[in-house]
C-alpha cells in the first residue's frame, strides 16, 4: 500500500508495474472466482468487479500505510488493491477458518481490518459514514491518515451520502469519497434513478471539492487520488471523485445482465482498464511481452495456490461457533 509518488508525465516503471499487477490480480481473482462459484464452491452473493478494476487499483496505489478504506458490496477489488493476501480471500469465500473473517463474513463482508480495510458492506451506502468515522478517528488522534470510501452511483441517492459527506465537510476531514459510477444499480439505469447523472455535482452543492474522471484509466485515477490525498493532508479535505465505469457482466454471478446494451458494453470493453494498465507498462516503460507474460503467469499461479490453500483449510465447527456466540 505504500504510495509510489510519481510525476504525472513520467510514471516510474515501479508504479506502472504495481498498477498492472494489481489490476490483473483483481481480474484473475474475479474470473477464476466465478468458476469456483459455478462449481458450487462459493455460496451466497458474489458481485464481480470485472471492468471496474481501474478504480480500486488507481486509488489504492495512491494511499499510504496507516490510511483506511471502506468498501462496497462489490468489494473484492478494493481488498486486493489494498494488498490483501489472496489466499485468505479465497479461503473466506470458501467459508474457511483461515479466511479473513473465519468464514463468518463471506464476499459481502470481506475485510482486512488490521491493514485498515474496514470491509465490504451488504448495505448499499453504509460504507460512507463508516469511512467518515475512520477519518474522524484519525483527526482526533492527530494523525494525517486519509480514508477513502468507495461508493456507488446507487448509493448516491441514499441519505447516508448527504449526511456523511456533509459531516466530513464541516469537520474538514481527510476523507475522499470515490463514487464508482457504473451507471447501473442491478438492472436500473442511472437515468431512471436521478435526473442529474453527473454525480460529482452533489459534492459541489455542499461545498466539497469534486471531480469527475474516467474510472477505466487507472493511471489517471492514481494521479487524481494523489492530489486529493495531498490536499486532504494539507487540511483541504474532503474531496469527492466520481469515476465513470461500466460492469463487464451482470450485477452478480447469477445475473445474465441482458439489460446492458451491447454497444455500451463494447465501448467500455474497448477501454478495458487491464489493457490500459498493460499498455501503459509496455508503452511508457517499455516492458517486454515476455515480462508481461511472466507477471501474468505469476499471478495466475498465485491464485491457483490460493485455491489449494483454501481447499485444504478447515471450517470453524458448530461447537466453536457456539463458543464464539456465547459472548453475545
Amino acid at each position: 500500500m505504500a504510495a509510489v509518488h510519481a510525476k504525472k508525465n513520467a510514471p516510474s516503471r515501479e508504479l506502472l508495474e504495481k498498477i498492472f499487477r494489481t489490476a490483473y490480480r483483481i481480474r484473475v481473482f474475479e474470473t477464476e472466482g466465478i468458476k469456483l462459484y459455478r462449481q458450487g464452491l462459493i455460496r451466497g452473493y458474489f458481485h464481480p468487479y470485472l471492468g471496474q478494476e481501474g478504480i480500486a487499483t488507481g486509488v489504492c496505489a495512491a494511499l499510504k500505510e496507516g490510511d483506511y478504506i471502506a468498501s462496497t458490496h462489490r468489494g473484492h477489488g478494493h481488498c486486493i488493491a489494498w494488498g490483501a493476501d489472496v489466499k485468505r480471500m479465497v479461503a473466506e469465500l470458501l467459508q474457511k477458518e483461515t479466511g479473513y473473517c473465519r468464514g463468518y463474513g463471506g464476499s459481502m463482508h470481506i475485510a482486512d481490518i488490521r491493514a485498515g480495510n474496514l470491509g465490504a458492506n451488504g448495505i448499499v451506502g453504509a460504507g460512507t459514514p463508516l469511512g467518515v468515522g475512520a477519518a474522524l478517528a484519525a483527526q482526533i488522534r492527530g494523525s494525517d491518515a486519509v480514508t477513502v470510501t468507495f461508493t456507488t452511483d446507487g448509493a448516491s441517492n441514499n441519505g447516508t451520502f448527504l449526511e456523511s459527506l456533509n459531516l466530513a465537510a464541516i469537520w474538514n476531514l481527510n476523507f475522499i469519497l470515490v463514487i464508482e459510477n457504473n451507471q447501473y444499480a442491478v438492472s436500473t439505469r442511472i437515468e431512471e434513478s436521478t435526473r442529474e447523472t453527473d454525480l460529482y455535482k452533489r459534492g459541489l452543492s455542499i461545498g466539497v471539492e469534486s471531480h469527475q474522471i474516467d474510472g477505466n484509466d487507472p493511471l489517471a485515477v492514481y494521479h487524481l487520488t494523489i492530489e486529493a490525498a495531498d490536499k486532504c493532508r494539507a487540511g483541504k479535505g474532503p474531496i469527492l471523485i466520481e469515476a465513470k465505469t461500466f460492469r463487464h457482466m451482470g450485477h452478480h454471478v447469477n445475473d445474465p445482465g441482458k439489460y446492458m446494451p451491447e454497444d455500451r458494453l463494447a465501448y467500455y470493453k474497448a477501454r478495458d482498464p487491464i489493457d490500459r494498465a498493460r499498455n501503459a507498462l509496455v508503452e511508457i516503460s517499455g516492458a517486454e511481452k515476455s515480462e508481461i507474460d511472466a507477471i501474468e503467469s505469476e499471478i495466475a499461479a498465485e491464485f491457483e495456490e490460493a485455491v489449494g490453500f483454501a481447499k485444504n483449510s478447515r471450517e470453524v465447527t458448530a461447537e466453536e461457533f457456539r463458543q464464539f456466540a456465547a459472548a453475545y
Binding site: 451488504g122 441514499n158 442491478v186
Partner: protein
Amino acid sequence: MREIMYREALREALDEEMQRDPNVFVIGEGIAERGGSYKVTEGLLAKYGPKRIRDTPIAEAGMIGVGVGAAIAGARPIVEILYVDFAMLGMDMIVNQAAKFRLMTGGEGRVPFVLRTQGGAGGGVAAQHSQSLEALFYHIPGLKVVMPSVPADAKGLLKYALRQDDPVMFLEHKHLYMTKGPVPGGEHIVEFGKADIKRAGKDVTIIAWSNMIPRSLEAAESLAAEGIEAEVVDPRTLVPLDEETILTSVAKTHRVVIVQEAVRRGGVASDIASIIQEKAFYELDAPIEIVAGLNVPIPFNLELEKASVPQKSDIIAAVKRSLYVPSYAMAAE
C-alpha cells in the same frame, strides 16, 4: 384444489387487488421490468403500467416515507423492501410516522400502507441479509404484523391487508417463495387475527410461523411415528394475535413449544410465552419451551448458518423435554 407457489399466490393477490382498486400501487427496487428479486411482481408492469408499478432508487427511508405519505393521502401503496434487514433504513418512517399517525391525529388520519419484505436465513447471504426481525415491528403499537407460511395464507392475508386502514408489515420468507400449496380459486381472503391449526394433535402444542411451520410439521410427523401427537398452531398474524386459539390448544395439551427462527432474546416467542403463563398458568404441566435462533448474527458459513437457526431435531428435542421423555428431560435447562 389447484396448487400454486407462494410467490404466485402473492402475485395473484396483487393482481386481483390492483384490478379491483385503482388506488393500489407498488413501488420497490427492480420490481417493474425485472419483476422483483423473487419474481413476485412479474407481469404486473405490462398489465398496470409504469404509473402503478414503479422502480425506485436505493432509498429505503425515502420510499417507505413516500409510501406512508401516499397512504395518508388516500392511496393504497405497497412498498417492497428487498430484505427486511434494509427496512432498518426506514425505521423512523415505520415507527414514528406510519405507526403513530392515527393516534397523533386523534384517530382522524389513517395509513392504509403495506410494506412487503422477506426475511430469514438460508443460502449463505450472511449477517445483513438473513435476519428475522418481526419482534421489532411487533413491539410498535400501530403496526399489524403478518407472517404467512403457505401460499393460501399468503394470498388471503395480502388481499385482506390491502383492504384495511392500518399499516401492515407483511413479512415473507425467502425460503418459501418456491414452495407449493393448495390455494382456492376465486376470491380468497384471510382475515387478520385468526390462527390456523396446521396439524391437529393432543399431546403438545407447537406454535410457529413463517418458515418454521414446514419445519415444525416435519418434526410433528417424526414425533407421530413415535406416538407423540403434536398440534401445530400457526398464528399467521402476530399482530393481532389470536390468543383464543392458542389458549384453547394449551388447555387441551398442557404442554407448549414455541418455535421461531429469530434469535431467542426478546423475540415474539417470549411474548407469547408470557401471555400463556399469565392466562393459562394452571394449565401448564411443563415449562414452555422456546426453540429459537442463537443470540448471534447469522454467519456466512453454511454449516454455521444452520447451527444458528432452529432445525427439526431441535424442535423434536424440545417437545420431548416438555413431555419429560427420559434422557431429554435431563437436557432441560
